[in-house]
Symmetry: D2
Subunit: 145 residues, 4 copies
């Protein structure tokens, strides 16, 4: 777990991250927009808009936890992808749900806590339109080449 | 965390669980079939079929981790719902990905480890058509009324 | 998981936290010093000094992960105890080890992310004497009375 | 995360595991006895006896969660060490506390769920003298050489 993993390429910018999101059928379905990408800080911000398939009860406007978990995993991954320039499989992650998210888009901020030779660890905060924290994630990705 | 939470009703059977899955727009989208439901053992088994929206790379037949996480959260929840007869919000959960799942349906087995007065803990195993373990989940749900 | 849990008393200050640490035989053994306690921010900082029993290899000065995990659980708990003024059992927690901690004291910062009616969630960062992050924790405690 | 990590040596037996536990000052302090070691099943069972330093409240006979977490991490690690024959650092782990453990030794069963090329995943169950489940752990260890 020592030190830095070798980057494969220069860090990716916002537009390149947005392009890569479209490569995956599932991620494309998640409907994410890259808001900002800062390789120095290891921070990516994305916005997720509601879709009818993501609702808990039909017509309630409440996000089901399932898509929130999937979004956390994905945005966390792309914080490391931004720095290392290659796909990185998820090893494991944890999600804590803090408040219902209703009639709101989600703002998702992923911050790299450590990019090691073997794995990287990323924290992900999810807030609603009022800036209230609705969920937090912590995820480990494989960085070994 | 002491002892048993009050059940709201008699345990739910397989058909009733299948009916309740349809109440949520997102769970409906997950496309789950209840295979078996054993309230005595605290065990529910469901089957998840692939959909094009769940693929990692388009046309590869490989499951993205996102829907696997959402399925783990949902099937784990229904193991407790079966026993307690009411909706139970997820407090938090962890997913570990063990192997890629390609060109396969998923068999998901959720087992209640503890149904306490405040929270319940459930283990979830996900296997492919060959019986290989592809992911494991551990989830905590709120059981307080 | 809605809203605020009822505090039992006014928030505890640094000296009162230090006194309460001594009530538990195990926590006493952990050898923690309260550095600061800010109920408004929901942040507690403690310092943990090495003991021979905490070493990985004898005489190496390297912290074993076991005491680091126990310290994370404890300091996280006291961030909520500070706000709510009563003992709060741990529901579950996760620890990620990021770097070896060698020949150093540990500085442990716990921050309340959410104090709900049923559970509270706390993030815990552990750094060494150089300010490097050596481990992170995320923990859920029961706040229900 | 594909396939088997290279073992460094033949699997370790019960006596060799017991000997290795003594190498670490902290693990020695944990006071563990190897009950059984089955490399085929990937299962190790250990017994942990109480010590005064492990008590929550002095003289209550109740285990503090801290030593339980440390024991979970350690026994889980040795399930993989048994199979691979070399030290394996912990990447991360989760502990769920299910019931108080009072006036009892702990029986700890660790089962390897997956030993991959990069990481291994182990489940750990902790029961009291009555066979009741008091805590469960799930841990990831680095298996890369």
């Amino acid at each position: 777990m020592s030190d830095r993993p070798p980057p494969s390429a220069p860090p990716l910018d916002k537009d390149e991250l947005q392009r890569r999101l479209a490569h995956s059928a599932f991620i494309n379905f998640l409907n994410l927009t890259v808001v900002s990408a800062d390789p120095e800080k290891g921070e990516v911000v994305m916005r997720a808009a509601m879709r009818p398939e993501f609702e808990r009860g039909r017509g309630t406007g409440q996000w089901h936890g399932g898509p929130i978990a999937a979004i956390i995993d994905t945005v966390g991954d792309y914080a490391l992808v931004m720095q290392l320039g290659r796909p990185l499989p998820t090893v494991n992650f944890r999600v804590d749900y803090l408040r219902p998210a209703v009639a709101t888009a989600l703002r998702v901020t992923a911050t790299v806590r450590r990019a090691g030779r073997l794995v990287g660890v990323v924290d992900i905060d999810v807030t609603d339109d009022e800036g209230r924290l609705v969920a937090v994630g912590r995820a480990t990705y494989a960085t070994a080449k």
